[in-house]
Subunit: 178 residues, 2 copies
């Protein structure tokens, strides 16, 4: 019961994080817990070969492809790379939010992600895990804050990351033909 | 032990999928199984607030942000939307690959994804699952192939999707400070 919640007591902006907006959301959830129930969507259109694009709200479509070695035209990052990007971007939000809430100024933050994947199952050569075996993440934080404060920040982020939790838990994924 | 492996027996291109490239990869893996061990990477740089960008190989960085209601500036899709996009793009590759391998011509393919997420844990108001509770996917396939062939295609794709498997299984995610 700590972390971003502390934002409500902060009046100023730190790390360019809009603490007032987050504080307002937290207040709204306290008043009406179902406000925390969110739904997120994406629509993917296949183009040709292994090329597709994902539409999210009104943003420019995100292109996707596969490397030539996997039969694609290598015009864009592939889906498993996009998954790593989503995890890294999610962690970045977590560090920025929790740093701001606890008064830690960040001067830089870089997150390197790496995942191991055995292609046998995807290619029909085995009937096992087609997905990542493990994902390793290295986080470089630039800040003048003391090491114990950075470690506490890190602990909070790791224990509250939406994409991190999604990957670490078995999620029901229901895929149906329309 | 079926699916994309059948590509090796196909000589022509279907759905603009480069079957020869995939067949070559499968042949290489048969000769040397460790060829299937792949490593994928992304690097995320935090910019300001909840804005970051992901660099993948030489491609244009993928921007990330949060909606205003969550304290962001709403300049780009957020990380959980990116995760849904990655799943949809991965399934699109699966349908294209397996359709081509089994001689099914696709004239269109659209994938709609939706995920439910309770914000309590991310915001520090609970200590539970910060990630998606469930993900629902609806796949619209346009093809003249008979329904049973489409259902068999669907079954293969769902059982061999790298991002799908990653989400449906608990994956070790090791996040360390550099």
């Amino acid at each position: 019961m700590n972390g971003v919640m502390q934002m409500t007591t902060e009046a100023t902006t730190l790390n360019d994080v809009n603490l007032a907006a987050v504080g307002g959301l937290i207040e709204a959830i306290r008043n009406e817990p179902t406000t925390a129930d969110t739904v997120w969507r994406a629509t993917v259109d296949w183009k040709r070969g292994f090329q597709s694009e994902a539409k999210i709200r009104g943003f420019e479509p995100l292109p996707s492809d596969e490397p030539v070695s996997l039969g694609g035209d290598d015009t864009a990052p592939n889906p498993v790379e996009q998954l790593l990007a989503a995890l890294g971007n999610c962690l970045a939000v977590g560090y920025a939010a929790n740093a701001s809430a606890s008064g830690v100024e960040l001067t830089g933050l870089q997150i390197q992600l790496e995942g191991d994947l055995d292609l046998h199952t995807f290619l029909g050569l085995a009937d096992a895990n087609a997905g990542f075996e493990t994902i390793d993440v290295r986080v470089s934080i630039e800040s003048d804050a003391p090491a114990d404060q950075i470690e506490e920040l890190h602990r909070k982020v790791v224990s509250t990351s939406p994409v991190g939790h999604t990957l670490q838990r078995p999620i029901p994924v229901n895929i149906a033909l329309a």
